[in-house]
Symmetry: C2
Subunit: 398 residues, 2 copies
């Protein structure tokens, strides 16, 4: 049975007068989140107090929720765990991967990777002090740059600026063919495009849940370790909840079984509760259905904008198969133009220096929304409405 996207849309609270094309930055609110949170706060925290760790299942939550992420990312059940932030999980995966490839010194990434991934790699390299090199190439040069010097690739599957989609399966195969490992950042693919971690043979993957997955501001991250590595890796961030027996309070660390060892500290119970309401909506669909609908919406958007706004240059791949679930246009006055759009209820975002970015999220954006957004964009661009001075004052954007 195909997904009923009208039904999934009804599960979200979307503000009146807004067409939200920024779900690739922060997903909107599942209507069920407030009640679920009230339940967890009042009936679990308030009534169970410390016994909630067992009675309410808080202690098992990171792996239970991880299994729901596994379904959406093609991971084997029991090999994804929630916790921390994406940056921390990048560090954890990278540190583990480097130890599995001790005689190599290159971390290969690309300039379309999200800067925080590069920063975390840089910090890790300095801490290790063993002469590792972070080699950053252009996105289109990644495949050719994977050689026998590479210990691990650190690639975000979808470029946060252009939406360009890497071929996870091909790059992973290339990496393995020369003895390199892979860390995949799924920030812009989990919930956006079908991911097949097991099928691609990915070694490690990490992702966040506040973008396409709609888990809320600051929702926890996840990490995947391939079954063949899961009992081998040493967690650099070896916290007590990754211990084989956390409540034995041993003085020495002994890693837990498989993915359990990638847990670190106390789970973020409240944040996980909000995420669970989003995952309930994800249970109503499949990634294949979402992908088909996402492509239809993106194609409709590109055609509409290109027809109406010749001053905007498509910055995303034209070929749908090479694109994630976002469409970006280049425009020199993109910051001001995006402010003008936001003032009219079309919310996308801007990425320096000149990228206007629009995310497409079939769970709550439909063809009528795309038509309406295109009409507003045509008006703003065609009538130079961004010229108004109030749209030019820069402030922190996200």
């Amino acid at each position: 049975m195909p997904t009923d996207f009208a039904a999934t849309k009804a599960m979200f609270r979307l503000p009146d007068g807004v067409i939200y094309l920024d779900g690739n930055s922060l997903g909107p609110l599942p209507r069920a989140a407030a009640n679920k949170m009230a339940h967890v706060i009042k009936d679990e925290w308030g009534e169970m107090l410390i016994t909630g760790w067992n009675k309410a299942g808080w202690m098992a939550q990171p792996t239970a929720v991880g299994d729901r992420i596994a379904r959406l990312t093609g991971a084997e059940a029991g090999h994804v765990v929630m916790g921390d932030t994406l940056s921390i999980k990048v560090y954890q995966a990278l540190a583990s991967a480097l130890e599995l490839n001790l005689d190599r010194r290159v971390i290969l990434s690309d300039s379309g990777n999200f800067p925080s991934d590069l920063y975390m790699a840089e910090g890790l390299i300095k801490s290790l002090g063993r002469g590792h090199e972070l080699r950053v190439v252009a996105p289109e040069d990644v495949a050719d740059s994977i050689d026998e010097s590479v210990a691990v690739t650190l690639i975000t599957e979808v470029d946060y600026r252009t939406g360009r989609l890497h071929d996870m399966k091909a790059l992973t195969a290339k990496a393995h063919s020369v003895g390199a490992l892979t860390v995949w950042d799924l920030a812009h693919t989990a919930g956006a495009t079908p991911v097949d971690l097991a099928g691609a043979g990915a070694d490690f993957a990490v992702g966040c849940t506040y973008k396409y997955l709609n888990g809320g501001p600051g929702a926890p991250a996840f990490i995947y370790v391939a079954p063949r590595h899961a009992d081998q890796v040493r967690p650099a961030l070896s916290g007590w909840l990754g211990h084989d027996a956390p409540f034995a309070f041993d003085l020495d660390y002994r890693p837990g079984a498989g993915i359990e060892r990638m847990r670190v500290g106390t789970p973020p119970v409240l944040a996980l509760a909000a995420l669970e309401t989003a995952l309930d909506i994800w249970d109503m669909t499949t990634m294949d259905d979402v992908r088909a609908q996402s492509i239809a919406l993106c194609e409709q958007f590109i055609a509409g904008v290109e027809a109406a706004c010749p001053m905007l240059t498509l910055a995303s791949p034209r070929e749908a198969a090479q694109r994630g679930s976002q469409v970006s246009f280049k425009f020199a006055d993109g910051y001001a133009a995006m402010q003008a759009l936001i003032a009219r209820g079309v919310i996308g975002d801007f990425r320096a220096p000149d990228i206007m970015r629009f995310g497409f999220t079939p769970l709550y954006i439909d063809a009528a929304d795309v038509d309406a957004a295109v009409a507003v964009i045509a008006d703003v661009m065609g009538n130079r409405l961004w010229d108004a001075p109030e749209y030019h004052a820069r402030q922190t954007v996200t």
Copy 2:
């Protein structure tokens, strides 16, 4: 004006029939938390969506809340920031401290430190691969063990088992006198006893907020870096929100000013909102008032239990000044005895091998509660009620 502890008690939801002496493990629910969370979820996340990062102040939340923790821990304003879990913050502080003392190889800790701190140190040492040593001594031997081989001390101010309180000022002075740095874990002191980070000259401090501070299950951690180090330290966990200009999306990391650089990933907005309601209650008191009342409650409890239960041996220091805000008793059948107490509404916890642990939290525990708890303990112990088989089946405890 002295603290009105009846007023602070009224701000918490405590289940009927329960005397909660486990706030040193997970604090109870501030009554305001559910409404505050509903507001943040519906009016901020739901209505503001991505603009909440600026409009609702989410981006500034980690330092704004950090300032409220600073007041309770004697830190200079602007030198505490929230985020991650305590284990992650231990790693971050320790990695930074080691780099400030590059020619030394010893991390000194004690066997009363919480195991996760030791595990994180062990993981860091293995990652660094530079021959660092984690030297773990008995709590009473820490002072004499601080010598010129020590790069950094990693000490939890209050022993989670016995409640024994280290002398932060004296140990810090000793460390500095031999050129060592200090990382203080305030898990059992923030909100429990007065802490004077600035006055003691502490170098780094970290802590959690779900125990005495009542921030909720999985509430975020905090980190303090002394002003003299704050612009010098290199964050090993160098994430984009610790970057000097996160939204410039530079490819290279450039640390932010002072404590800002210890931020890593996206802030846990929902969890911080819950914590804020707890901190509103903390605004009604001072740590000096809390300490005076805590000592009174602990003394009352010790006297009552010792008079009624000769089979229980005090495991905490008898001298109030050497104790945190908990009282522990040793008892061979402590696990079963604690289960029997919990079944009768007196909630403490058990720490292997034989520690029955009771936390005293003046914000919501008063003298009448202590009397009532003592009566239940006297009944359970005096009548050997723990002998019932249902109290002996071990399961995961927290």
